[in-house]
Symmetry: C2
Subunit: 518 residues, 2 copies
């Protein structure tokens, strides 16, 4: 993405950084990464057809339960057979609805420099979302999330340019009453970050409140808000083959307002889905596509994406596993199916590890590379996730951002350019069979930007590392996260807008917030 | 690879395991993994041609120094222009020689069940080779390698079925005098393992001694030894653009005996090679292809493979970096070039990290996935490597084997099968919109083998993990490696052969071993 002419006016990252002097770390600039790699595709064309047939047969013959009478009624009007809560969709209807979904769409947050393109060759990464617990090295144990911890992670979300959007609550602040939690966290999110925000589909009031707050934060009229996607929701089906009431309510509300819609079935093979990965993927698709068909019926052309969260369980204990070989293949298969349906796709950065150690990083690496290989467009939970999503950790967040920066550098075409200056015959002629390339003009002209420069990896030899304290990665990440929080400055916001936002929160709190009986 | 009918007779793994009762860990069975994935190919056809032209121009116009008069003389006889030590090879000659190299070949160690196929869709993994130092958690610091440490790592090499060949010394045993080191370590390697062995090309006597020991260990006549590759060497050019005397000597000796030949230039972009990755790859290819051309001139059809070890340096400190974005792309580009030249290819599992922590695992994961994505056939240093190859660690070895098992499981087609039983519509019909799949017959028939089962990853939740001691991955790996060493039994060897091997070692020691003045 080229630099936007709006950057200076709107106080984008570059201008902001210039005002505040040196940073805690040097990091790569904000950009929308482009994934040039041909996806890894385990399925043959026949395999794609078999999973498609499976998903369509599920929709036609087994049906999906829509636990929301409004949704069921709408789908009945659309011509689907409805028996009680179960909706049976013909494949012709489903494919007709999917064809209305744009292959590529945008999300424009309050800082237009942070506008995202979802689809095409872009791949976007977001922070960990929704863990109830927090772990950091100083606390040294798993503790319930709080507003302060949540804000810490929102600051990291804003700070790192390799994080493109602010997903759900990076940790659930259980010290705030659920009736008003969304008001406080969205206030924090919209003031501490200027990246694309998310709304949980947890009941009418929450969704309406969040849309209103996003509108206010953007300084938008209602018409401007509705004109283009400013935010998004992500709903999870209740596998097997169910969509619950509040999720569908939020889904339909955002559909009507033309906001971004992502549906991500949580299909653990062997538990809520068949033990076979192709079966779990087929079921996941049936669940996801049925929600997208509903959205397209309500508002043709509304931006949707299909998510995958298909993994396996430990068959000895039933515990969910993440970043496994099966997880990687399910992600790649879903990528093939998303291309078949011409839908943008969401996957995740995940692990089962409980602390930010070696296992955490091989599981996370497996899942992030699967996201790249699958041609995913949106990667949720890409930084900060532990314990299968039950813990958010700032150290893990920082470690994951090092991996994400490397993935994003990996995508820069300079790395594999083959022009004459890249083949560098003149430099090779100059050095010939002795000496080295450090001193050549070819090297001198390029060395400052030739290679990825890490902020967390320690590339010193053992002795240098030992003299510097012999600090393992997680502890280095702890120090980095502390430095970032110490120097953090919120992105600029017009004071009148901030007051309007605060007034809205105060008013809605005085009204009691949202009901908590769903 | 199907089970060999020889397994019982020759005391292969299955029979051996049955004799000794339960194992320290449950691991996947021995097999040759097949890489079904289409490689990741950053280069366009024009990019491939540009790098090829670059490599050929280097060979024709800049030349490669062969610091071995015999090699230079042979290449002069082959029609190359030779000026002093520098050999200039025309591209027609090079391509004619490369065309003689088989695209796929075998390596048959003393246990024929461990026979390897190099090339095609197979991908094979070997242990860390050649670090001078050792680190384990109990020692707690970097210490020089010893024969005991070396034997520890040879036992792990033998123990893990995901390790297919025994590379160079897994750690350099500096407590053995260099003149006889190869005799003791090869004795240990050939008695503690029954996998394909490697010989360092470090002077005439060492190479001849190792070939003789491999012949004795296999119970082979000289004719049988020469009939098919039983072992291999790996030489490194002295970049830029030089092959040294002892390496070339060993290379030519093994070429004449028809053994496996791998050439791996160590081209650090910005130091011994151009700062641009395409330039570093072109230079690496020129160095590697020139050695293969020599081997094919000496013995047409001798099995060769081209290696890549192109990475970048930290341009602030000059320190080598591994598992970086640039390393990944260089590996993928070299894979494309290896396919262009129809040569099997070697890459590596590498990291710059000093201890087996998070950084170690993301760097190693990056490099191992690059090996998979590049279509590599042989992956060196795949388990146990730290500090850019200066440290071998048993904990890291065990952690890497967990990653390697996952990669090898990832390659099993069952993971993406799409037959009717995989789509599992009957099971989905049975469970419908409520309940779960745990109890279905479809799950019950498959759950024991449906998913990868780790031996090191801890998939318990935080509380379960905490109750069990809250042990981070590296420490768990420490316990695993100790358990493996405690129960280790060497693979069976005929007593007469063992005595012949010991006698050979004793005789060669009494003769003074190998000169150390090379």
């Amino acid at each position: 993405m080229t630099e936007s002419p709006r950057k200076k006016r709107s106080g984008g990252r570059a201008g902001h950084a210039a005002r505040r002097g040196p940073s805690a770390i040097e990091q790569m600039p904000w950009r929308l990464p482009v994934n040039h790699d041909r996806p890894t595709e385990p399925l043959s064309p026949e395999g794609v057809q078999a999973i498609h047939d499976g998903a369509m047969t599920i929709l036609e013959e087994i049906g999906v339960a829509f636990l929301n009478p409004e949704a069921a009624t709408l789908l009945k009007q659309a011509g689907c057979r409805v028996e009680g809560e179960v909706v049976y969709m013909g494949r012709d209807f489903v494919m007709e609805m999917l064809a209305k979904c744009p292959e590529q769409w945008t999300l424009t947050p309050r800082n237009p420099d942070r506008k995202l393109v979802v689809g095409g060759d872009y791949i976007l990464f977001g922070n960990v979302s929704s863990p109830p617990n927090y772990w950091d090295m100083e606390i040294g144990r798993k503790v319930p999330g709080t507003r302060e911890y949540c804000a810490n992670l929102l600051k990291l979300t804003q700070y790192f340019n390799c994080i493109h959007f602010a997903g759900g609550y990076p940790v659930e602040p259980v010290d705030i009453h659920p009736s008003i939690r969304h008001l406080d966290v969205l206030y924090d999110k919209l003031t501490l970050t200027d990246k694309v925000p998310h709304a949980y589909s947890l009941g009418t009031e929450r969704v309406e409140d969040v849309m209103e707050m996003v509108r206010i934060a953007g300084g938008l009229s209602h018409e401007e808000f509705d004109a283009t996607p400013r935010m998004y929701t992500n709903i999870n089906s209740t596998s097997p083959l169910k969509h619950d009431h509040p999720m569908l309510d939020g889904w339909m509300r955002l559909a009507r307002r033309g906001q971004g819609l992502i549906v991500t079935p949580f299909t653990l093979a062997g538990a809520m889905a068949p033990v076979t990965m192709a079966g779990a993927v087929a079921q996941s698709l049936a669940e996801g596509l049925s929600a997208i068909a509903l959205a397209q019926w309500i508002n043709p052309g509304v931006p949707c994406a299909i998510g995958t969260f298909t993994s396996n369980v430990d068959m000895k204990t039933g515990a969910p596993a993440f970043g496994t070989p099966e997880y990687m293949r399910a992600t790649q298969m879903t990528g093939q199916m998303a291309r078949f349906y011409k839908l943008p796709m969401r996957s995740s950065g995940v692990c089962a590890a409980n602390v930010p150690d070696g296992q955490a990083m091989w599981e996370t690496s497996n899942s992030l590379w699967a996201a790249v290989q699958s041609g995913s467009h949106i990667v949720y939970h890409a930084a900060g996730w532990l314990e299968g999503g039950l813990i958010a950790s700032p150290e893990k967040f920082v470690m994951d951002c090092e991996v994400l920066q490397q993935i994003q550098r990996y995508m820069e075409p300079a790395t594999w350019a083959t022009g004459p200056e890249d083949i560098a015959l003149d430099a090779i002629r100059e050095v010939k069979h002795n000496g080295h390339f450090f001193g050549t003009q070819h090297t001198q002209e390029r060395y400052t930007t030739a290679f990825y420069q890490p902020f967390l990896s320690d590339w010193r030899n053992y002795e240098g590392w030992e003299v510097a304290g012999g600090i393992w990665t997680a502890e280095r990440a702890h120090h980095v996260y502390k430095r970032i929080l110490n120097e953090f400055e919120a992105p600029p916001m017009d004071e009148a807008i901030r007051e309007e936002l605060a007034d809205f929160v105060a008013r809605r709190k005085s009204e009691g917030g949202a009901p908590t009986d769903f």
